[in-house]
């Protein structure tokens, strides 16, 4: 299975999930998940904890059984195939390094299992270690390494045998913020260079936006939206995706649509082309609006607080019991507790059906 020489680029394989389900007793953990991952693609499974993304990944790895549905890797149906025959490498959140083996032995373990001859194995270990800049530490034990170095060992162990698929389960979540940023860039570079199909699980939307070719957003075991980072950000399919993506998240105002007009407390907005709906949520991104004088914008509200983040100023308003956040340039000033208007382009706003959460689209 794994006899190809380490410097040969493995042919990337696509992955297809068809109506995959997972039940734990009566608990339905994964609901009809269908996904196609192209060869060489970097797909991120994104969602809050408990949404089934890790379960889906473990099912692809073969660590959890598939209750129903099929899983294809390349042209092969691997639904019932043992993990070791799937030609997959996984990076665990905990790294799962073997504590009694040196860094070199850890990296070489998949090759040792595949009974690769010693000289070839040493060369492959060295090459993988160089790729993650670990060649000085091959004789150390994992216990003597820092968190970032352990992360690199786990990565090296995954790339050393050139698998056809990489699976990563929140690999960066145990690192501190600065290191996480660096590793993110390195991961993206490495995946690009190796061209190995990768499925990456995270709850961090920044990681998802920066790393992914496509993002699959999940909630309660259900796929909410699948698309490029840009699509899911600027064209959310439902209320959940809109509220989950972006930091700070999208602003929401509840109201009703009638006769091409959106009406809420203190708001009246032209919304031509939408059907009538009694319970509607209006959504607009903090960067798509600006603070204007009272009465000049689409709605007026009281300024709650100002936050300087360095490159910009976040102005938080209180409208009812909901906060509304507006991103303004860094030198923007407005008095707290004063009343100001929020102005935005009606075309950039989204409307959602409050009861189903689904996006309302313009008809015609």
């Amino acid at each position: 299975m794994n006899t190809q020489s380490p410097d040969m680029k493995a042919a990337a394989k696509g992955i297809a999930l068809r109506d995959m389900n997972k039940y734990y007793g009566s608990f339905h953990a994964l609901k009809d998940l269908s996904l196609e991952v192209a060869p060489g693609e970097f797909l991120v499974l994104l969602g809050p904890s408990g949404c089934g993304k890790s379960t889906a990944l473990r099912m692809i790895a073969g660590l959890e059984s598939i209750s129903s549905g099929t899983l294809m890797i390349g042209e092969q149906d691997v639904t019932e195939v043992l993990p070791k025959y799937r030609d997959i490498a996984m990076v665990f959140q905990s790294y799962a390094l073997y504590p009694h083996k040196t860094v070199g032995e850890n990296i070489g373990f998949p090759l040792k299992v595949a009974k690769m001859p010693k000289p070839e194995m040493d060369a492959a270990i060295r090459a993988a270690a160089e790729q993650v800049e670990l060649e000085e530490l091959l004789e150390r034990l994992p216990g003597q390494l820092s968190g970032g170095q352990r992360q690199r060992v786990a990565l090296a162990r995954a790339i050393v045998r050139r698998p056809s698929v990489f699976l990563m389960d929140e690999p960066l979540s145990n690192l501190d913020a600065k290191l996480r940023g660096n590793m993110r860039a390195e991961l993206k570079h490495m995946q690009n260079e190796l061209g190995i199909t990768t499925i990456y699980v995270t709850h961090d939307q920044i990681e998802a936006m920066t790393l992914a070719h496509r993002v699959a957003i999940m909630k309660d075991g259900e796929l909410q939206q699948l698309g490029s980072p840009k699509e899911v950000y600027s064209d959310p399919a439902n209320l959940f995706v809109a509220g989950f993506m972006g930091s700070p998240p999208m602003n929401f105002v509840e109201g009703a649509l009638r006769d091409g007009l959106f009406a809420a407390a203190g708001v009246s907005l032209g919304a031509e082309g939408y059907g009538d709906c009694a319970q509607v949520t209006l959504g607009f991104r903090p960067e798509d609006c600006s603070v204007v004088g009272a009465g000049e914008g689409q709605l007026d509200a009281q300024v709650f607080t100002l936050e300087m983040t360095g490159d910009q100023t976040l102005v938080t308003f209180r409208a009812g019991n909901r906060p509304l956040v507006v991103k303004m340039p860094k030198d923007f000033e407005v008095a707290a507790d004063s009343t100001a208007g929020i102005g935005f382009d009606a075309d950039s706003a989204c409307f959602f059906d409050s009861s189903t959460g689904l996006r309302l689209r313009k008809s015609g």
């Binding site: 070791k84 665990f92 905990s94 790294y95 799962a96 504590p99 009694h100 373990f109 003597q144 968190g147």
Partner: protein
């Protein structure tokens, strides 16, 4: 500036008075612990006269050391002594190997696999077993016929009753059941065990003692190793699986090296239990399979009175293997083996 006796002179150091108190206690305790062994050692070199006219504490001062007792045990009664010694070694080693091997495998599966046996199935399995035994033993029913009926009934009930009552046991219940076997005092089952081995004509054999000790010690092994295996992160095994390792290779390369400390401690403990066991050996062995504890105990029951001197010799040679084993295994019983496995 005066410094009190209870004030440390440096950070991380003890105050002089505390240190004095500590060492006084430690030395007193050491003397208390070591004295019986010292007493044993000098008694083994005393003549009967030196023992009976005693107490004498210092060789060459109080009494003249003699090899009399050592000669008694290793020259006059050489055959008996060496047989008991070899019996003890064979039985302790074999039963320990058996209980650690089987017990740790049981513990591993309990820590990794979710079992869910149906309670009702277990109950009528036991009921059928007892029924068959009574039918065969008391009413003289045909062995094979009874077995066939019992097996048929078992499957019939499994289909009929097993579906109606679905109270399931969990791993915790199984573990507690195993441990409860050890809570039972051995004296309770000593007569049934005796009769069992009598009926299969295995009394006074190595096999009987090895099996008995292995079964008695198994719960301890399962209990200790269950906790130990639970402390090894599953990620490691899953990772090895994905890297292509077979189950046996995962066990040999990952699980075994990481559980060496637990296995060593358990082996040592179980070995000492088997080595010192007296009650069961007293019932099951009579002469050929007699172990050292029986030999020692026999020395205070002879017509010549209590032979303190030869008893001391026997006890000293009994202590030696345990000390050697403890020294050998001690280096494996160290903590911190799992550092660096997971997280930062």
């Amino acid at each position: 500036m005066s410094r009190g006796l209870f004030e440390p002179r440096k950070i991380g150091e003890m105050a002089p008075a505390s240190r004095l108190a500590l060492y006084t206690v430690l030395i007193a305790w050491s003397l208390f612990v070591i004295f019986p062994i010292y007493w044993l050692l000098i008694t083994s070199f005393k003549t009967p006269a030196a023992v009976n006219n005693g107490p004498f504490f210092l060789p060459w001062v109080d009494f003249q050391p003699s090899l009399h007792a050592w000669r008694d045990l290793f020259v006059v009664d050489f055959a008996d002594t060496i047989r008991a010694y070899m019996n003890s070694i064979i039985i302790a080693l074999s039963s320990t190997a058996l209980s650690v091997l089987v017990g740790s495998m049981a513990a591993y599966s309990l820590s990794r696999i979710e079992f869910a046996p149906n309670l009702i199935t277990i109950l009528y399995f036991v009921a059928l077993l007892i029924g068959s035994c009574v039918a065969i033993g008391v009413f003289g029913a045909d062995l094979w016929l009874t077995l066939a009926v019992a097996v048929a009934l078992f499957f019939l009930l499994a289909r009929a009753v097993g579906r109606l009552y679905t109270v399931r046991l969990q791993n915790g219940d199984i573990l507690f059941w195993i441990i409860s076997q050890r809570i039972l005092a051995p004296i309770v089952v000593v007569v049934p065990i005796y009769m069992m081995f009598q009926s299969v004509r295995l009394l006074d054999t190595h096999i009987a003692l090895i099996l008995t000790y292995a079964v008695v010690n198994m719960p301890i092994v399962v209990w200790l190793m269950f906790d130990f295996f639970n402390s090894i992160p599953r990620d490691l095994e899953e990772s090895a699986q994905l890297d292509g390792a077979t189950m046996i290779m995962t066990f040999r390369e990952i699980v075994l090296p990481l559980s060496r400390a637990g296995l060593s401690a358990t082996t040592l403990l179980v070995m000492i239990f088997a080595w010192n066991e007296y009650l069961l050996a007293l019932f099951i062995s009579t002469s050929r399979a007699q172990t050292m504890p029986i030999l020692v105990a026999a020395m205070n029951a002879g017509e010549r009175g209590i032979l303190w001197w030869t008893m001391s010799v026997a006890i000293i040679v009994m202590i030696i293997p345990v000390v050697v084993l403890a020294v050998v295994l001690q280096k494996y019983i160290s903590k911190g083996l799992l550092v660096g496995a997971v997280k930062g």
